[in-house]
């Protein structure tokens, strides 16, 4: 696998659409974007994006007032040639847009800012799939993985054999964050943003997350 940095350099040179050069400029300092995609499944090659949501973070503030939200028209509808049928389908899916129209807007929203996500790699590869065809690049942005930040705060000094739980619910619980309805792209992006701010602050202050259950277990058996 080619290292991402190398790919980035390659794409910077080979970019098809010059108007997207801004993607390679660093974003405004102290800003980042938390994002999440809802997809039809977990197979990047076969499945499609249903919706993308993203929210900017500036300093310690989540700019929910400057959000990005888009619902994609299912690909199935696009494959049907008949305009008649196509129109019908369009009516069915309501406000859905073609993914080809969503991706450019998403790029302008994100620009060079670091992308924050939970298992962000999957979401990035999902976007890359369309991006390669459209502009001839992959997302060049730095990536921040919240589960990795969480792992550092909680498990980086754990003794061997510790059960590691990096589930979204476990992170929410440990960070005592308000649970929003999950599997709504915007809520997921928002919760990811909250996780990020909380974990970033803990890291700066050197605060760790207690592994209560793992520590408690041997003690109770001894007692």
């Amino acid at each position: 696998m080619i290292p991402r940095a190398l790919k980035r350099l390659f794409h910077q040179i080979s970019i098809g659409d010059q108007s997207y050069r801004f993607m390679f400029d660093p974003g405004p300092p102290d800003e980042a974007v938390a994002f999440d995609c809802e997809t039809t499944g977990l197979d990047v090659r076969r499945d499609d994006i249903i919706s993308i949501a993203a929210v900017r973070i500036r300093g310690n503030r989540i700019l929910t007032s400057e959000r990005f939200e888009a619902v994609a028209r299912p690909e199935a509808a696009m494959k049907i040639d008949s305009i008649k049928v196509h129109r019908l389908r369009e009516m069915d899916v309501g406000a859905g847009e073609r993914i080809e129209a969503i991706i450019p807007r998403f790029l302008h929203f994100v620009a060079g800012r670091p992308l924050i996500g939970y298992y962000v790699d999957f979401d990035v590869r999902m976007v890359d799939k369309y991006l390669r065809g459209l502009i001839g690049i992959e997302l060049p942005n730095p990536m921040i993985e919240v589960s990795k930040l969480y792992y550092e705060r909680k498990y980086s000094d754990a003794p061997p054999g510790t059960t590691v739980d990096l589930s979204f619910a476990a992170i929410m619980r440990d960070l005592d964050l308000p649970a929003l309805d999950q599997h709504d792209a915007f809520n997921d992006a928002l919760m990811t943003a909250m996780m990020y701010l909380r974990l970033k602050d803990m890291k700066q202050r050197g605060v760790r997350i207690a592994r209560t259950r793992e520590v408690d277990r041997p003690q109770t058996t001894i007692g």
């Binding site: 700019l63 007032s65 959000r67 964050l177 308000p178 929003l180 915007f186 928002l190 943003a193 909380r198």
Partner: protein
């Protein structure tokens, strides 16, 4: 647009749909680390914050004056009124919604109900809240319409018909008023008109009614609100109004129907008391008084009005009981008084007895003893618990002559024991309910004469306001995280300090009022404190009494003194915080006034 933003969270529940959309679009989320200042003291407010998670401290200098938890918002008043009087800092990791000032102010400007939340004065906020309560209760009294009342039927006679015909018709259709046709005109005739015509004007029974008909018939539509009817009756001084549906007269509304609807059955209870000829009949009435409270509150009647109605009924009950069982010797030469909350007219739910008898002259011991026991036992049978401090007619110390009371006062003041101050307080709140009221006036005058100028006594008397000091962590309990936390004692923490502080100031000035609000009013008039503060103090007292009463009514069997912050709405918690701030200021005023710190 955080979808999770709770539109039912006050004050945002007052926004319309489109306003809520505007709000959502403008909201950001801020993260604050422990100790981080969110708004500095004296700094201009740039945004309205609503806590999502975590705890925010409100500080005045070094002192923590409040804790805010999820759904609490700050600092709305600073936003509207300029800079922030308090500092706000995150106590732990905290997430807040951040609403930019411009958007918040635009909403305040466009929506008066939303704006009410940001008023500086507690009293205005409470008024707004009360209006909202009234608005939101479906089917409350003021929403009722004329057609919901029971109307007397519209029955017509001709102006040529005789007085006898009119009288018989009234009996037949069971009404007290008839419509009278006279050509194109429609007039009105009542039973009272007929009686007067016959008895006073000596008109014959077969005379036509024409001369006694009056034609200034006032009428309402069936869809009119009953408060219009009430206003119309008051303005025109009529006891009946006709109901006209646009085509014809359909009935007659009498004031008695209206009043019994508006006030519950208080009239009936009062009537039952007045008609009673034996003690057992009063037991039913006593029980009904208790039921009135619940009904009145359900009709959104304000707590001060509930207290007034209940006090009035209780006093009638006591007076009737006195009438029924007092021997001849006591009827003229004695005065029955009620004291404590009953005397102040602030009792809503029945508490224990606080009553006394004042004699003009010594009464034969056997006669007096019998009355003492009969009276107290009767009250117990009505459901008034005996007073734990034995402040009751049964206690010889509380049923003696004016002179004996005066001697007792001198003892209280000269050699106070643990009960003396409370005894003075209880008696100072006394009101005469039966017998010779002048005896109480004389006794109270003696009491005030005894304490006048006794500054050491007054200091000890006033000091009771600190009997239940507000712990430093008090506000922590009040607005603990997620509204959890220990119960707050409304009585000790709020009601008692107000009542007793006001009582102390009033006693020192020799005021004769007994009701706390009336005392505050007088203190304002003589310049003890400003009118604004007086209003705040009264409203705080009423708010605390309301919370307490409602808590009592929901959890029967409890005193209602303790409320759990979790059981309050976030608006109520906000108001409670304000009310306790007023109590705090007031304690300071009393402390300074009596120089309590110096002793």
């Amino acid at each position: 647009m955080p979808n999770a933003f709770d539109p039912n969270n006050p004050p945002f529940d007052r926004l319309t749909g489109p306003e809520m959309e505007t709000l959502r679009k403008a909201l950001d989320i801020g993260y604050f680390r422990p100790g981080e200042t969110i708004i500095a003291q004296g700094a201009p407010a740039e945004a309205l914050y609503v806590v999502i998670k975590g705890v925010v401290e409100e500080r005045d200098g070094d002192e923590v004056t409040g804790l805010l938890g999820p759904k609490d918002s700050f600092d709305g008043r600073a936003l509207v009124h300029g800079e922030s009087g308090s500092a706000f800092a995150a106590r732990e990791e905290t997430l807040c919604y951040v609403l930019p000032k411009a958007v918040a102010l635009a909403l305040v400007h466009d929506n008066p109900r939303f704006a009410a939340f940001f008023y500086l004065e507690l009293s205005r906020k409470l008024d707004a809240l009360a209006r909202e309560d009234e608005d939101s209760r479906v089917g409350t009294l003021m929403r009722a319409r004329v057609r919901d009342m029971s109307l007397y039927p519209a029955s017509f006679i001709d102006a040529d018909d005789t007085i006898e015909t009119a009288g018989r018709r009234m009996r037949d259709v069971n009404t007290n008023a008839l419509f009278v046709r006279n050509g194109d005109q429609i007039g009105f005739i009542t039973g009272m008109n007929l009686s007067k015509a016959l008895v006073l004007d000596r008109m014959p029974l077969d005379a036509p009614v024409a001369p006694i008909v009056h034609y200034n018939v006032i009428s309402l539509a069936p869809d009119d609100f009953i408060y219009s009817a009430l206003i119309l009756m008051t303005k025109t001084n009529k006891r009946r109004v006709a109901v006209h549906d646009g085509k014809s007269y359909i009935g007659i509304l009498e004031d008695i129907e209206l009043l019994s609807y508006l006030t519950g059955n208080t009239q009936m209870v009062a009537g039952r008391i007045d008609r009673a000829v034996a003690v057992p009949e009063l037991i039913t009435a006593a029980r009904e008084i208790g039921e009135q409270v619940r009904m009145l509150r359900r009709q959104a009647v304000k707590v001060e009005a509930v207290a007034e109605i209940v006090s009035d009924l209780n006093r009638r009950l006591f007076a009737k009981l006195f009438d029924l069982i007092a021997p001849r010797a006591l009827r003229t030469g004695a005065c029955l008084v009620v004291m404590g909350s009953e005397g102040r007219g602030e009792q809503t739910v029945r508490t224990d007895q606080d009553n006394a008898l004042i004699l003009a002259a010594p009464v034969e011991e056997a006669v007096l003893d019998k009355f003492r026991h009969d009276f107290t036992a009767a009250l117990e049978s009505f459901g008034f618990a005996p007073c734990p401090g034995n402040v009751m007619v049964r206690n010889p110390a509380w049923s003696q002559t004016v002179d004996a009371y005066t001697t007792m006062f001198h003892h209280w003041v000269a050699m106070p024991d643990e009960h003396s101050h409370m005894n003075v307080a209880i008696l100072y709140d006394a009101v005469a309910v039966a017998g010779d009221a002048k005896l109480l006036a004389r006794t109270k005058a003696e009491l005030m004469e005894t304490v006048r100028g006794r500054s050491a006594f007054m200091v000890h008397f006033a000091r009771a306001i600190d009997a239940f000091p507000m712990a430093l962590g008090f506000f922590n309990k009040l607005v603990a995280r997620d509204g959890q936390g220990d119960a707050v004692d409304l009585k000790k923490g709020g009601i008692f300090p107000i009542v007793h502080g006001v009582r102390s100031l009033a006693l020192e000035r020799g005021l004769t009022e007994t009701n706390t609000a009336a005392r505050i009013q007088r203190l304002v008039e003589i310049g003890t404190f400003k009118a604004d503060f007086g209003r705040e103090l009264t409203q705080s007292l009423y708010f605390l009494m309301t919370l307490r009463l409602d808590a009592k009514l929901t959890a029967a069997g409890t005193s209602g003194a303790l409320v759990r912050p979790a059981d309050l709405s976030s608006t109520q918690r906000d108001l409670l915080r304000d009310a306790f701030q007023v109590v705090k200021q007031f304690r300071e005023i009393v402390r300074r006034h009596f120089n309590l710190g110096a002793f």
